[in-house]
C-alpha cells in the first residue's frame, strides 16, 4: 500500500501544493520563477476585469455544456435503466466506450464534420442550403464539450437510478399519480445526487479544458484552461499561471464540497 500512497503524495499532492506556493513569487527574467522576489501582484492581477471576463465566459460555456449534457444524458440513462438487464451492460459499455478513446481524435472528428467543406455542409449544399458557419465558434465549442462528456453523465445518472428502490415509484403510481408526476416528484429528486455528480464533473472538466476551445473554437475562445496554458507555454509567466490554476483548484473544491453536502442531504431526507 505504501509505494502507491507515496507515489501519489510525491507526484500529485506535493506538486499541487507547490502551485499554491508559486503564487507569491515573481516571474524570472527568462521565464520560470524568481525565488528571490516575493509579491502579491499575481493575486491582484487575477482579479483584473480582463480575466474576470474570461472566467465568466468559461463559466457560461461550461454551464451551457453541462446543461445540455444533462438534458441528453438523463433520458438516455433513464431509458437504459428500463432496458432488460442483459441489454443494460451492453448499452452502458457502448455509452462509455467513446469516452475511453483519444480525446484529440474525438474532437478532430467534429472538425471533419463541421468545417465549411465538411460532411454536414456538403449535405446541406446538396439540398440547396448553407454553407453554415458551424466551426470555430461557440456552437462548436459547446458541441465538442457535450460530445465528450455526455457519456460520463449517462454513467453517473444510471448509477443513481440503479440505487433507487423501484417500490417508491410503484407506490406513487398505486396512489394514483401519473407517470409524469411520479417522475418529477419521486424519481428525479431521488436521483438528484447522481445529477449533481455528473454536473460537477462536466463543469469542472469544461472550464479546465483547453483542447476543445483551441481546436473547435479556432483560438477565438479563451477558457480558463487556455489561459493557464498560455501563461505557461507562451507568456512564460509561471507564477501567474500557477495563480490561475490555484483559482481553478479552489473553484473545483468548492463545487465538489457543495455536491458532497447536497448528496448527503438528499440521502438524509430519504
Amino acid at each position: 500500500m505504501l509505494p502507491g500512497l507515496f507515489w501519489l503524495m510525491a507526484l500529485m499532492v506535493l506538486p499541487c501544493l507547490l502551485i499554491f506556493g508559486l503564487i507569491f513569487f515573481e516571474r524570472g527574467i527568462y521565464g520560470g520563477i524568481d525565488w528571490s522576489a516575493m509579491t502579491l501582484e499575481n493575486i491582484r492581477r487575477a482579479f483584473d476585469p480582463l480575466y474576470a471576463v474570461i472566467l465568466w465566459d468559461s463559466f457560461r460555456i461550461a454551464g451551457l455544456a453541462t446543461a445540455i449534457a444533462l438534458l441528453v444524458g438523463y433520458p438516455a440513462a433513464y431509458a437504459i435503466s428500463k432496458a432488460p438487464e442483459k441489454a443494460q451492460t451492453a448499452l452502458l459499455f457502448l455509452a462509455i466506450l467513446p469516452f475511453w478513446t483519444n480525446y484529440l481524435i474525438r474532437t478532430y472528428a467534429w472538425i471533419v464534420l463541421l468545417n465549411p467543406a465538411g460532411l454536414i455542409n456538403t449535405a446541406l449544399a446538396s439540398i440547396g442550403l448553407g454553407p453554415w458557419p458551424l466551426l470555430y465558434n461557440e456552437f462548436a465549442v459547446v458541441l465538442g464539450l457535450v460530445y465528450n462528456y455526455t457519456p460520463f453523465v449517462i454513467l453517473a445518472i444510471f448509477a443513481a437510478l440503479q440505487r433507487l428502490d423501484p417500490s417508491y415509484a410503484e407506490a406513487s403510481r398505486d396512489l394514483g399519480a401519473t407517470a409524469a408526476t411520479t417522475f418529477w416528484r419521486i424519481t428525479l429528486p431521488l436521483t438528484a445526487p447522481g445529477v449533481a455528480a455528473g454536473a460537477v464533473f462536466v463543469f469542472v472538466l469544461s472550464i479546465g479544458n483547453f483542447i476543445t476551445p483551441d481546436l473547435l473554437g479556432g483560438g477565438k475562445f479563451q477558457m480558463a484552461g487556455n489561459l493557464i496554458y498560455d501563461q505557461f507555454l507562451t507568456a512564460r509567466d509561471w507564477p501567474f499561471g500557477a495563480t490561475l490554476s490555484a483559482g481553478l483548484i479552489i473553484i473545483m473544491l468548492i463545487l465538489l464540497f457543495a455536491q458532497a453536502l447536497f448528496s448527503r442531504r438528499a440521502m438524509g431526507e430519504r
Binding site: P3, I33, K82, G208
Partner: protein, 257 residues
C-alpha cells in the same frame, strides 16, 4: 422501454458514434476528402506507415504506456489490496479520487513546476512518472471493485494450512484477482497511450520525447488530412479492442467507473 426511450437512445448513440464512424470510413476513401467518395483504398495507411515522425512518436508512446502500465499495475494492485483490508479512511479515498477528477492541465503544470524546482531532467521518464499517477488511481478502482466480493476466508485457510503470506498471495489471492488486474492494466495502457496534456507539459524541449498524441495534435492544428483519419482509425481500433477485452475479463463491469 417505451418507443420514446428507444428513440432517444437511438439518437444519443448516433450522436456518440456518427463522428467516429465517418472518420473510419473516410480513412479508406481514395479521394481523401470528405466531399466525394473516390473508391476504397489503403493508400493513406501506406503513407502513414512510411512517415518516420509518426513511427517515432508511436514508439515513444508505446514505451511510455508499457512502462507506466507495468509500474501502475503493480503499485495499484498492492494499494487496492491494502486499502480493502484496512479500515475506511476519508483522506485515502480523497487521495485516490483526486487523479480522476483533477483537470489534466492543473496536474500538468503542477508536475512541470515540481520537476523544474527539483531540477529534474525532462523526457520520456518524466512522462512515465506522471502517467503512473493517474494510472494508479484507475488500476486501484478496478481491482478494488473485484475485491469487494472477495472471500478472505480462502486466504485464512491457506495460512492455516501452513502457507506463508507470499505463498498465499501468489497461489490464492493473485490467481483469483488476475482477471481484474489484467483488465486494469489494459485500461491503464489505453489511458496512457491517449494522454496528451500531461505528456505535452512534462516532455521537455525538443522533439526527442514527442508522443503519438502530441504528433496528432500538431497534425490536427495544421488541418484536416486523410493521414489523420487513418491514424485515428488505428488508434481507436486498438482502444476498442483493449476495452472490449477488459470488459470481458471484468465480467461485464463497465471499466473503471
Amino acid at each position: 422501454m417505451t418507443r420514446w426511450h428507444k428513440l432517444h437512445l437511438g439518437i444519443t448513440y448516433a450522436f456518440l458514434y456518427l463522428p467516429i464512424i465517418v472518420l473510419m470510413i473516410l480513412s479508406f476513401n481514395k479521394a481523401g476528402l470528405p466531399t466525394a467518395w473516390g473508391g476504397f483504398s489503403l493508400e493513406w495507411y501506406g503513407k502513414l506507415f512510411a512517415n518516420p515522425k509518426i513511427q517515432f512518436a508511436a514508439m515513444n508512446s508505446l514505451i511510455v504506456a508499457v512502462i507506466s502500465t507495468l509500474i501502475a499495475t503493480a503499485i495499484g494492485t498492492a494499494l487496492a489490496l491494502g486499502v480493502e483490508r484496512s479500515g475506511p479512511s476519508a483522506v485515502r479515498e480523497a487521495l485516490l479520487f483526486t487523479p480522476m477528477i483533477i483537470p489534466d492541465i492543473v496536474l500538468a503544470i503542477a508536475l512541470l513546476s515540481f520537476y523544474t524546482l527539483l531540477r529534474f531532467s525532462l523526457g520520456l521518464h518524466s512522462i512515465i512518472m506522471a502517467h503512473v499517477v493517474f494510472n494508479i488511481a484507475f488500476v486501484t478502482v478496478v481491482v478494488r471493485a473485484r475485491l469487494k466480493g472477495f472471500d478472505w476466508s480462502l486466504t485464512e485457510v491457506s495460512r492455516d494450512l501452513g502457507a506463508g503470506p507470499q505463498q498465499t498471495f501468489w497461489h490464492i489471492t493473485f490467481p483469483l484477482i488476475l482477471p481484474s488486474v489484467v483488465a486494469a492494466a489494459l485500461l491503464a495502457f489505453t489511458l496512457s497511450v491517449d494522454e496528451f496534456i500531461i505528456a505535452y507539459f512534462t516532455a521537455g524541449a525538443g522533439q526527442s520525447s514527442t508522443t503519438l498524441p502530441m504528433q496528432i495534435y500538431s497534425m490536427i492544428r495544421f488541418g484536416v488530412t486523410p493521414e489523420i483519419n487513418a491514424m485515428a482509425t488505428i488508434v481507436m481500433g486498438v482502444a476498442f479492442v483493449a476495452l472490449f477485452t477488459a470488459q470481458r475479463l471484468n465480467k461485464g463491469q463497465v471499466p473503471g467507473m
